[in-house]
Amino acid sequence: MTDAILNATGVTMRFGGLTALNDVSFSLTEGEVIGLIGPNGAGKTTLFNCLTGLYSPTAGEVALRGKQLPEDPAKVTELGVARTFQNIRLFPSMTAEENVLVGRHCRMKQSPFSSLLHGPGFRRSEAEALTRSAELLEFVGLTRFSDELARNLPYGDQRRLEIARALATDPSVLLLDEPTAGMNAQETEATRRLILSIRELGVSVVVIEHDTKFIFTLCDRVLVLVQGELLVEGTPDEVRGDPRVVEAYLGAPPEEVEAQIHAGEQTP
């Protein structure tokens, strides 16, 4: 594929005897939203960790625009792959604004000397970063909380703040690990719209989610990971109708699950 932005080839991850990922390959096209689904423990988060350099895969490689990604999360982020975490990992005693400013870190032109001396260059870069953070906070709808400590934010807003922080690194690929976990229907819908507008910005997105309705209505393509193996890959319609998915994914008679998926029921 010529317009693929992110390519994973044969990614395998073993923890001792446990094979969490086995020969996973996929590619993400520019401007695409991919959904990643699979039962608990399927290896979805592990795949994100391999994509972002937090884990070094036992085998296989990950490339961004044809260039292999380094095994250092900071450098991966600098190159343009940002992420959020399944269990929210904000900087709890920093304000919402400061959290987003930290996301700006790798794009700010401010040397340690400039940090120390607070000269004109410092003021310029801080002003730029502050403007950008304000924009992003507004983009995710958190302007009113900008001076609030991250720990004090309502749960759903913490997830949005994590997205704003990730966007602050100017990513070309955004990896979202269960962005709607713990949200009510209304918040989930808002998040769906948020992800669509992120795509409008030209960012390609991979979303992990258990909420199948959410995934099928949002994504261009869906990957199904089961026990570390990529089982099925296709459009939401293809995946929804695939009997293998229905059986392997939920381990139940197809008809039942079919009904469940169509009803948009959430698995825990």
């Binding site: 999360p73 982020t77 975490f85 900087f91 304000t95 930290v102 401010q110 970063a129």
Partner: protein
């Protein structure tokens, strides 16, 4: 006054547990506590004339010789007692909170003085009823306990928030008054009890410290302190300038003698070092147990470049240059010590730094490379000499005679100011935010594009440079540099200063260092108990105020109990927003 906002109506929380039954009697208890404190003040505290210090006239039957006239600690008790009675009867917001602070103060003052009179005076007879009357300490102590119990029984209100706005010029004038009071208070605390080591000196100092502490705590409980803090933030530069001016004016107060100038300069060295350590521990969250080694490295570098007879390098350089070199060399060592942070975290890093501190002490003890003088130390380091003036001499400016040590004091004030600027500038910058992010969650920080390795090493490097700077001053001021001054205990004391004062804040580090390095000076007769007292103080602080004396706004939220007004306000705001969202 242009606008006055009423403080948020303070809902008094219901006391729970054992105190619940006492709630109806809270006011009675408070008044009774106040009355007993006043009565205790006027009772004799010893049955005989104590022959030392300021105690004699204040601890005997003074009432009958100077009716109503009390001085010293009894005056403090009297004021606290009357204040408590007034607060108990008046309708003042947060009065329970204030009375609790006063009560703790009364307890501390009566315990300190009671123990001193017993210990230094004539044994237990001093406060028993042996000759009929001498139990002032016990009565005042009971009064203090009743105040605390009464305050708790009635419920401790949240601290009120005042939003008064005055004419800017009135506000500025008010700040001058506040700063002058602060200056006089600092001078009074520093000199109270006189030079340590004799008779009741330690007692007078501790008692006064308790009184000042309780008074400040009561003011803080009333919300006035927070208001003044908000004032200083509105006039930021002006306040900083005022504080600097006040610091430079200290020599004109009662503390303006050679002895106190020397004590102040020594405190200054540790305050500057503590601010440096605060970068490593408070901002970046990296535990360093061998930090004082960098102060030592700076001091030894300066000693070797000072032209002292014992230094093997025969060169003498001007002091400003020496400071720079000392800072750079200490910084290099800082980077080396920090390099394991690339691999180890948390406890393991602490062990690495501990080992480094130990290596430094042992090497210095063995006169490594002939640079440290071993157990002979490097003595006779000449004083700093700039513009043809030796810094250890007094100066006369017109009619004004300033004591020897004055110039060193000014120098350390300037050094601390510079160190504060470094700390404050870094804290609010790309680098400072990266440090705090690493402290909060290192993996998340990496995922946000922070190259944690170099950033952590920078924390060590900059922290060490600041300590090295202070070390250069230290060598010249003391005139002797010995490995014995840089042992593990000093590292722990510095760390304690940072934690005690409040992690990540400048006033916290300065206050912590002042308290921890003044106490041994004042309590010299207790030198063998120093560590014990130190430990007790730390345990108490961690129990009752885990966020430190002057907490960082952010950390306060993390560690403070639910009564903290800032948190309550924040939570209410969030709740209100959430409600607005739904409707």
């Amino acid at each position: 006054m242009t606008t006055i906002e009423k403080p948020r109506p303070a809902a008094v929380p219901e006391p729970t547990g054992r105190l619940a039954g006492l709630a109806p009697h809270a006011r009675t208890l408070r008044v009774l506590g106040g009355v007993l404190t006043v009565v205790g003040t006027y009772l004799p505290w010893a049955t005989f004339v104590l022959n030392d210090g300021p105690y004699p006239e204040q601890s005997t039957l003074e009432f009958f010789t100077v009716p109503y006239g009390v001085t010293g600690f009894r005056l403090h008790l009297l004021l606290f007692g009357i204040a408590a009675i007034v607060l108990a009867l008046a309708a003042v917001p947060a009065k329970g909170r204030m009375i609790r602070a006063l009560g703790v103060g009364v307890i501390a003052i009566s315990v300190v003085n009671g123990l001193y009179i017993v210990g230094e005076g004539g044994g237990l007879g001093a406060i028993t009823v042996a000759d009929g009357v001498a139990f002032g300490a016990i009565v005042a102590l009971i009064g203090g306990v009743l105040l605390v119990v009464g305050a708790n029984a009635g419920g401790i209100e949240p601290q009120p928030v005042w939003n008064w706005r005055l004419n800017p010029w009135v506000e500025r004038a008010l700040l001058v008054v506040v700063v002058v009071v602060l200056l006089l208070l600092v001078a009074a605390v520093l000199t109270s009890g006189g030079q340590g080591g004799s008779g009741y000196a330690g007692g007078v100092f501790l008692s006064f410290l308790a009184a000042v502490g309780a008074a400040i705590a009561a003011l803080s409980a009333s919300g006035l302190l927070a208001w003044v803090t908000a004032l200083t933030e509105r006039h930021r530069l002006y306040s900083v300038a005022l504080l600097l001016a006040a610091a430079l004016l200290l020599p004109l107060t009662s503390a303006g003698t050679e002895y106190w100038m020397t004590v102040a300069a020594t405190i200054g060295v540790y305050a500057a070092t503590a601010i440096g350590l605060n970068i490593v521990v408070g901002l970046a969250g990296l535990l360093d147990l061998g930090y004082v080694a960098f102060l030592g490295i700076g001091a030894f570098v300066a000693a070797n470049l000072s032209g002292a007879a014992a230094s093997t390098i025969g060169i003498t350089l001007p002091f400003p240059l020496v400071m720079v070199i000392a800072a750079i060399i200490a910084g290099i060592f800082g980077a080396i010590v920090g390099s394991p942070t690339l691999r180890v975290r948390g406890d393991y890093l602490a062990i690495v730094t501990l080992a480094f501190g130990e290596i430094f002490v042992r090497s210095a003890q063995n006169n490594i490379g002939g640079l440290t003088g071993g157990s002979n130390a490097i003595p006779n380091i000449p004083p700093v000499s700039l513009f043809g003036t030796d810094f250890n001499e007094g100066v006369e400016i017109g009619a004004l005679e300033l004591p020897p040590g004055f110039l060193y004091y000014v120098l350390i004030v300037l050094i601390i100011s510079a160190v504060m600027v470094v700390f404050a500038n870094l804290k609010f910058s790309r680098l400072g935010r990266a440090w705090i992010a690493i402290r909060e969650d290192e993996d998340a920080a990496r995922a946000m594009g922070i190259r944690t390795g170099p950033i952590k090493i920078l924390a060590f490097l900059i922290g060490a440079m600041l300590a090295g700077l202070a070390g250069a001053f230290y060598a010249h001021k003391l005139g002797t540099v010995s490995y014995e001054s840089f042992r593990f205990l000093e590292s722990v004391t510095l760390l304690a200063a940072v934690i005690l004062g409040g992690m990540g804040t400048i006033p916290g580090a300065v206050l912590g260092a002042s308290v921890l390095f003044v106490l041994p000076e004042k309590l010299r007769e207790f030198s063998e108990y120093r560590l014990l007292l130190f430990g007790i103080a730390l345990v108490l602080i961690m129990r009752f105020r885990p966020q430190g004396i002057v907490p960082d706004a952010h950390r306060r939220a993390e560690l403070a109990p639910e009564t903290d007004p800032a948190i309550v306000a924040a939570e209410e705001k969030v709740a209100a927003e959430a409600k607005g969202e739904k409707s």
